[in-house]
């Protein structure tokens, strides 16, 4: 198999990436892989060097320097957790850590989960805005489907529904 990037060398580095829930496979030669990695700050150089299995396992594999370098907030205001302790243990200290370390967590979660948008269920209390947003998102999908299937009357209905939901959001 030839490298996806240069098309000349044999591909010996195989990666799967998940972007917005879409999985893509890439095959690169070592040289192009190294170049890609410098560009994106990906994780596999740390997998090939000797530091892989030391006690900074989490830090090296899951949280490479590029995502952690620009640390501003050093400790969580609620539990006192530090980013370096998190790198070491791989566990956060409390719910507020997610706010305190948001800028580190977003790229990390993107890497391990393939997405940073929450699509799951909502708690019964305190997430009214989010519920409306999720409904609108769902309706937009329905709208696209309706248009595809040329059900224009239904599409118009959905459009009006989205409009009124958006207005209710603004007035709130």
């Amino acid at each position: 198999m030839k490298c996806d990037s240069c098309g000349k060398e044999n591909a010996n580095v195989h990666m799967t990436s998940i972007v917005n829930g879409v999985k893509e496979e890439h095959h690169y030669c070592q040289q192009c892989a190294n170049q890609k990695e410098q560009g994106t700050g990906s994780m596999f150089s740390s997998m090939f060097d000797d530091t892989f299995f030391n006690n900074q396992f989490f830090a090296n594999v899951m949280y490479p320097q590029s995502t952690l370098g620009n640390s501003k907030l050093s400790a969580c205001p609620q539990c006192g957790m530090t980013i370096s302790a998190f790198n070491h243990q791989g566990r956060l200290g409390c719910d507020k850590c997610y706010e305190a370390f948001q800028q580190h967590l977003v790229p990390l979660i993107k890497r391990i989960q393939g997405s940073t948008s929450y699509e799951g269920r909502l708690p019964q209390r305190g997430a009214e805005d989010l519920k409306v947003e999720q409904t609108i998102k769902q309706l937009r999908n329905d709208l696209i489907q309706a248009v595809k299937q040329e059900q224009f009357e239904r599409a118009a209905q959905i459009r009006d529904e989205i409009k009124s939901l958006e207005q209710s959001k603004v007035s709130n």
Binding site: E25, Q78, G93, C94, Y98, Q102, Y118, E119, L122, A127
Partner: protein, 357 residues
């Protein structure tokens, strides 16, 4: 209640015989939840842990009202090491919870379908189990429990990240959906590795339930979702169910292939395994799992007329359950192998027509 859980190999929910649960043994939903404003378990002090435990003590009655069955709260400190290990072998608690016991507890429903680990890595791990491929049903029950708790206490939740968990690999839905499958024919025909690879490529994980390494002992594997962000609970359950249905189809095809290419060969394997299991005087856990898997395959393919509950056999052959059954805290390998052989003989002969060989 605790007594029944520890001494009976079959949890009540496993006794349902109305379902055809060949190939797919069971479905499980696990939700990771934390309470708002209390440090996660690894960072909480003893007062924090006690607070979480207190919340859950107050939930016993509301849970009973919602679920319609009674719940028991078992403090892990009150159990002996072997009793805790039996709960692990029955998948009611995690090894992690069994090792750290201060202010740790498990809440189990009367039918053992629901178990809630308290102060595991997350404050709560709500677990719901069903026989066969019934992820949807397991999910509904887990959600009923989840809603009951949330109506009294606020969870740690953010609109950006969803349910907040100690490890970012669970953040979002906090849901792990798993299905246990028994796929001996896929192993025998050498098709399993390819299938495992394609499942992994879809972002799901596959691991052998028993033993180390990729080849699962007894050909029992667990398929689970990995992603908890960017996908809803329903979509995850739908995808996983489709994957499992695909695996079932492949396993059925492989069984048909075994049947047409060498029926006598597979019959020979099944009967030999049955012969050893009904006559051996000592048997290791590893060997027992392999042979029991053959017999189960023989039963599924109607090559052998024996009544056996695979779930029961899987639990019965585990070391700690055996020790508990015999009433000993620890046993030497030889004694354990001999006890195991006897229990298997007794159980299989009970399920054989005529009862004697």
């Amino acid at each position: 209640m605790l007594h029944t859980i520890l001494d009976e190999a079959l949890s009540p929910w496993m006794k349902d015989t109305s379902l055809d649960h060949r190939i797919v043994l069971s479905s499980r939903i696990r939700l990771a939840r934390n309470f708002k404003g209390i440090p996660f378990t690894n960072r909480g002090d003893i007062n924090d842990l006690a607070k979480v435990d207190g919340y859950m003590r107050s939930m016993i009655t509301p849970l009973q009202t919602v679920y319609g069955k009674s719940f028991s709260k078992i403090n892990l400190e009150s159990l002996s090491a072997i009793e805790r290990d039996v709960l692990v072998e029955k998948h009611l608690i995690s090894p992690n919870l069994a090792n750290q016991i201060q202010e740790r507890s498990v809440i189990i429903s009367e039918d053992s379908r629901i178990s809630i680990m308290v102060n595991e890595e997350d404050h709560l791990r709500i677990q719901s189990m069903e026989l066969g491929l019934q992820l949807e049903k397991a999910y509904e029950k887990a959600i009923a429990v989840d809603d009951a708790i949330e109506s009294k206490y606020d969870y740690a939740f953010s609109k950006d990240f969803g349910y907040l968990t100690a490890c970012p690999t669970n953040v979002g839905t906090g849901m792990r959906a798993s299905v246990m499958v028994h796929v001996p024919a896929l192993s025998m025909t050498g098709k399993l590795q390819r299938i495992i690879r394609s499942i992994i490529r879809m972002g799901y994980s596959v691991r052998g339930l028993y033993g180390e390494g990729s080849e699962g002992l007894g050909h029992v594997y667990q398929i689970s979702n990995q992603q908890t962000m960017g996908i809803s609970e329903q979509a995850t359950i739908e995808q996983l169910s489709q994957i499992v249905q695909g695996v079932v189809k492949e396993e059925e095809k492989a069984r048909a292939e075994l049947w047409t290419t060498d029926k006598e060969g597979i019959e020979d394997k099944v009967w030999r395994s049955y012969g050893i299991l009904t006559h051996a005087r000592r048997i290791s856990g590893e060997e027992a799992l392999a042979l029991l898997s053959d017999v189960q395959l023989g039963i599924d393919m109607k090559l052998i007329d024996v009544t056996m509950n695979f779930h029961e056999m899987l639990v019965i052959t585990r070391p700690n359950f055996l020790a508990k059954l015999v009433g000993k805290e620890s046993m030497g390998t030889q004694e354990r192998d001999s006890q195991r052989a006897q229990v298997i003989r007794d159980t299989l002969l009970r399920g054989t027509k005529g009862g004697t060989i």
